[in-house]
């Protein structure tokens, strides 16, 4: 058995697999950092904005992350963002949490589907709008189901309309901020 004359370093590894794997790891680490930072910012912002009904950034964050980083990250950001931020807002966790998680995950998935159609602003904001509707559909379906169980009515759905509109417009506002920031924070990089 001969002794090595030089230490085996990363750069001296054969190209087959080794270098690519390292680049993938770096890319993944970078993506996880951006997704975590954006989701964390969304969680804190939702808590800070809780006195303004339906003004929250997490759906915009989930859609944008899904749009630029794919379905896995979009769904994770939306669902985990709503779950964790519920600990910081009035009302906390409850039966509604399940529908919020499903809706926010759906928004992340919708963002990812939008990202497959292109990376222009029309597709981006189209995904934002579709993401809000996906979320509201899940949450209001849950509310009506629960209200029916406890003797409520369809009037709850009508009463939700102004809040859906607010959510839609505010999410587009947060979407504008994310669209403008995407290049600067590296969100749009592969």
């Amino acid at each position: 058995m001969g002794s090595r004359t030089a230490p085996v370093t990363e750069t001296s590894l054969p190209d087959v697999g080794g270098t690519d794997a390292t680049e993938d790891e770096v890319t993944t680490r970078h993506t996880v950092m951006i997704v975590s930072a954006l989701t964390g910012t969304g969680i804190v912002s939702r808590a800070l904005l809780q006195s303004f009904p339906s003004v929250e950034p997490l759906i915009a964050v989930a859609v944008a992350i899904g749009f630029y980083k794919g379905p896995r990250y979009g769904i994770a950001a939306g669902a985990s963002g709503f779950y964790l931020s519920n600990f910081l807002v009035y009302g906390g966790q409850g039966p509604w949490s399940l529908f919020q998680l499903l809706g926010a995950g759906a928004a992340g998935l919708i963002g990812a589907l939008g990202g497959r159609f292109g990376d222009g602003r029309v597709v981006f904001f189209g995904s934002m709008i579709a993401g809000v509707f996906g979320f509201e559909l899940a949450v209001n379906a849950g509310s009506v189901t629960m209200a029916s169980l406890f003797g409520g009515g369809i009037g709850m759905l009508v009463a939700a309309v102004p809040f859906v509109v607010i959510h839609l417009v505010s999410t587009c506002g947060f979407g504008m901020m994310l669209y403008g920031s995407a290049r600067g924070i590296g969100l749009d990089q592969d």
């Binding site: 009904p53 009037g155 607010i166 506002g173 947060f174 504008m176 403008g180 600067g184």
Partner: protein, 141 residues
């Protein structure tokens, strides 16, 4: 498209961010018009019964409040209420100047059942019967 010095940001990017911020501020300001404790035009009103019972007598009211109003909103709409804020919500300590003391305090029921939530976390429904009693049923201080 001018690139801001020393960064990957462009003026167009900054414009999107500022524009988004303006939209959010305007929408947040607009939400203050949607007061969930008062009734606003077009908002459905629910009517609930409110009874306040003291050793001196019983006062019954029918109160109209906005959908999603809480028991606290109903009581506060018709009486002078004092309360203490706890992590679980508001605890009513006085109604119309009659404050809780070592022997008496305020308990409430909705439809003859005692809710396990604070008054500001119980959302009323049309036809609910709320009753506040000044009672000695438990120690209050």
């Amino acid at each position: 498209m001018a690139v801001l010095e020393g960064s990957a940001w462009t003026r167009t990017d900054a414009g999107w961010v500022v524009g988004g911020l303006v939209v959010i501020v305007l929408v947040a300001a607009g939400t203050t018009l949607l007061d969930t404790t008062g009734t606003t035009p077009g908002e459905e009103t629910v009517h609930v019964g409110l009874t306040v019972q003291t050793p001196d007598g019983i006062e019954d009211n029918t109160v109209g409040v906005a959908e999603n109003a809480t028991v606290f909103d109903v009581l506060n709409a018709t009486h002078t209420v004092s309360y203490e804020q706890y992590s679980f919500g508001k605890l009513v300590t006085g109604i119309d100047g009659r404050e809780q003391n070592q022997t008496h305090g305020w308990l409430y029921t909705v439809n003859n059942a005692t809710p396990e939530t604070a008054v500001d976390r119980f959302t009323v429904s049309s036809g609910d019967q709320i009753r506040f009693r000044y009672t000695t049923e438990q120690a209050f201080e």
